[in-house]
Symmetry: D2
Subunit: 339 residues, 4 copies
């Protein structure tokens, strides 16, 4: 349920409605719009009777929200969300490019890579410290050591750090290092983790689950938003289908659909989405042409020796090529890409 206040409703009217909501046992979120205030009601399991609010002073309308997500919905907040990250942001007209290796492999590797990316004009560095792996015997990341290296890379280059948090235990450590916390595809419905990142203030990049519908994905975002953290960035990274020629099926349909349903920014990870480096450039261009707010791309200075995901990583020279093409494409999409 969404309560729309009249344009001239005094603050006391707003407060009275909030009290009413709380008295019914529900929670409420104030959504300051450009013109008017709206109050979202959450915590209700069944329908709420609009009559309960329509007669209160200052109330213009009470709109039942039929979508299962509310805070993530465009009905709730019509204007696009821009997530601030220091002096940068995600979700504005500026295309976001996040690049870097799958895993942090050594101090030298990540600092060198960050330097190369900085020279290319990139502002966000990705790099896995804690790696969720299908096999217990696979390389699981350098963990705490990698976090230190990422911080060193930031100190040296000024790049913002995007890194994955895989459980609540390591959240405090990862949160200290990261500028953006990444939730991986396999953890998209790890609700305890979603609640934990919702209860802290670092922005969250939420990858879509392998077999998550768009609605389930928005519901996962809702967990974070409902926890009090409004800074959620969605990341499409391919879904699981019957096709075996590609690692995943990059679902670019999700870009216009999410933009229709939600105010949250959406970026695309073509590296996992197609899983083979030759496909990364065309799918990056396609993602931006579909309307994505940015890209997350695996770049490795020497893909052949990468400890993970080398097969889908771009060399820096290919990344440069991609950036040149993106710079041509951006203005057509009413986007900027400063380097």
């Amino acid at each position: 349920m969404l309560i729309l206040m009249k344009l001239d409703a005094p603050r006391s009217d707003v407060e009275r409605v909030k009290e009413k909501i709380l008295s019914l046992g529900y929670a409420t979120h104030e959504i300051p719009g450009e013109a008017r205030i709206a109050l979202g009601i959450t915590g209700n399991r069944g329908k709420i009777d609009p009559e309960l609010f329509l007669n209160l002073p200052g109330v213009l309308d009470a709109i039942p929200v039929t979508k299962p997500y509310k805070l993530a919905s465009k009905d709730f907040k019509a204007t696009k969300t821009t997530v601030p990250i220091g002096n940068e942001s995600i979700g504005s007209n500026e295309l976001t490019i996040i690049a870097g290796p799958c895993s942090v492999e050594s101090r030298q590797q990540i600092i060198d890579t960050a330097g190369i990316l900085k020279e290319l004009g990139i502002k966000f560095l990705r790099g896995g410290a804690y790696k969720p792996r299908t096999s217990p015997y696979a390389f699981q990341g350098l963990k705490q050591e990698a976090l230190q290296y990422l911080q060193d890379a930031r100190t040296v280059t000024g790049l913002k750090i995007v890194t994955e948090v895989k459980d609540t235990e390591t959240l405090p450590l990862v949160s200290e290092c990261a500028d953006v916390l990444q939730i991986g595809a396999r953890n998209m419905q790890n609700y305890s983790l979603l609640e934990a990142v919702g209860a802290q203030s670092k922005p969250v990049l939420l990858k879509r689950g392998l077999s998550a519908t768009i609605e389930e994905w928005l519901m996962a975002a809702e967990y974070i938003l409902n926890g009090g953290n409004p800074n959620v960035i969605l990341c499409e990274r391919g879904i699981r289908t019957f096709e075996t020629a590609t690692r995943n099926t990059l679902d670019l349909n999700a870009v216009p659909i999410v933009k229709k349903l939600s105010h949250l920014p959406i970026i695309v990870d073509p590296s996992h989405g197609i899983g083979v480096w030759e496909g990364v450039i065309p799918m990056s261009l396609a993602a931006v042409a579909a309307g994505a707010d940015g890209l997350m791309i695996e770049v490795h200075h020497n893909p052949e020796t990468a400890l993970s995901d080398g097969y889908q990583s771009l060399k820096p020279s290919k990344m440069k090529l991609l950036l040149e093409q993106l710079q041509q494409l951006a203005p057509i999409m009413n986007r900027t890409i400063t380097r």
Copy 2:
């Protein structure tokens, strides 16, 4: 198996190799390359011993082709195929735009629509005469009557006609009217129909089956090529997945993958691929950015009253908008789009 001839091999050497192939009970296709001649061997079920050919005069190499498709493979023909359609072609640098209603609904409708599209600079008109429908009670197309209307539209506007052939019985009739024969997704593995369109000369637009892998799709193309018709255009139109927010999941990964594996042109149908008109423009741009050779788009002058697929059809005004955006995008992709 692919037999590569030496650069200076005389014609008599080529003929001797061909005789050898035939004498072993296989078929052969000559592939004239820019520099050298190659001979493809088909009809074999198991492996062929390269030794059988390596000692023949004029033979440079005998390469086992491990992919199950051969004629569709890039190993077989390295240069991109351009399908000629009268004074137009598909697969060249010129982006192909095929537009029109899902079904031909009346003479007036199709002639008016063709006129509007011609004014927009479009060269290919689509329109269903025979409509395969999930329900026996749904509108199945105006059939033979519609074929006449399509021919009238061509006479009036000069647009090339793309229309679906749904069975071998109506192939002669449809073939007489169509410039390009469309094979629908549900018929992608109707092998009798594939053989029949392979045995005639009109170009064939082969839609990907709902749950066909890229390999199976190329195998379906192989049926047509093996029948003697080299003019096959592939059309990605979305696959079936668990996602229900969209009619299908448009698999744009297929564009770079097909271009890596095959010499055949590939176009994209975003109308079926996303299934809702608001998504057609972004997914059209995405398809071209991914490298597609063209688009097939449902356009209806009055989508609300369309007898089929109105929900996913663009109005002419939106089609115009899309063309303007494509004209900006084309040069970035090294494409032209003359109007």
Copy 3:
């Protein structure tokens, strides 16, 4: 729309309702029930007003049928359909076992196999004459020759013949030989073929398409029923999913769901459903326990040399073992299995 007649409605009332239906431009099917007559209306695209019939003499009720299929629906015919095939039938309490090789490979092979199966007490012989194959270079069946061998096998053993018809061209030939016409998974939405088998009188075994929903499958059956052929047997044979450990994912859920929605008999093909012979026995037992009316199983006297599907074929000795287990299971499921 379904018109229920009163118990004591005279024939003249029934005829009057039929005339009314025809006068509205619809078709009608009379469904003789145990107690009362019902008249199904088909051919309507939109809703029909029940008021048009409720006032006619002899009419008890006019029930809108919301499912897109009608003739296949249990609302239309509450009692289970039994398909008669000479002195045998499918859909009765007797479990149907259809067995035999994927392809007819020689006269000797099929007659020998038929003899072995007859000794095991099996009544139905399967064997492919025309084989739809993914590759144009794969064995496509012995075609007309195989049809003759199947007839010979019937003459020698008395077994009923189940064989696939893959196009309308060969339908007359196949129909002459077969006791049951099989429509393969890839042809489930080949509507011209469905219409053709609907217009003739041999029973049709309709396999579920690789990615067909249960509703689409029942709609395909509807095409055949609507053509005038009431003898349709459904066959679940596995659907396409992301799982690669098995050839297909046998969807046994389909058995209770189809039995809830439709009166048509449903059998299961575990050979294609799991794709590996060790799994055929457990999945056969599972299918019968789920309520299937029968099984279709690939049996080859020498699977290692089979020209197709050897990997999923049972040897006769394993088939015997399975039959012994089925004979124990049948009474628990209120089924008989005479041998």
Copy 4:
């Protein structure tokens, strides 16, 4: 890599091989077989050279294990694992029946339900205390309160308790109450949780993920086994496919495939697998006929008022009916079912 020791190899030989393995930086697990000892090597990322072991005294063979899972593999342990749970066990010839409501809703509800189930002869009670839910606004379980009620139900009836643990934070609490810890489908690849349950001693029931391949599922089991907990029970509960007529597609193929690949017991949850109560009885019978070691079934004394999953829950009277049918089926499958 698996090192097979000779039948008469003395203990000192075994120890020498173990030292060699550790000296190479790998871990080892001793697998006491009926006749001979085998040593599994884990922790290696690439291939290990068998030559390193073949010359050591007492070594019969060194077999590279190509499957990515080792401890879960039948190559590793040929005999079926039986998981002891107090005086009961899972994986023996006795069919395991786990029944109870989706969620613990009140002390009265769970104690009454336990009493009814005990009377039916059931030994295991399921009931959710912590409920992972798609929506943050849905009922999330009575949590710690529910754990107390479950313990009370055990005290009163003696039934063993199966309940879900959804994160590492609540693991100590849940572990104290549960006889079997359930890992839900959405947490199948929550590796931190898998490691945590691997490091404690309570048996773990591991549900298959919605879109997990059988191999990924066994890899998830491998995490638990590798942590030191050998007591893992697999639970097939349906996978996500395109079919919408059922909540999930119960993949009974998984039963024979898992039994071929692994020594771990496998049970089936038909309630989630089909998602509608009328289908639960047929799919339960099918699961047992496919070879499952047991069933997990949602039973609610009043499904209409259930706080979750009422639609797929059996009433106690239907559960009784199912048990009667299972008692007939069990002996055919060489199973017992004591009540």
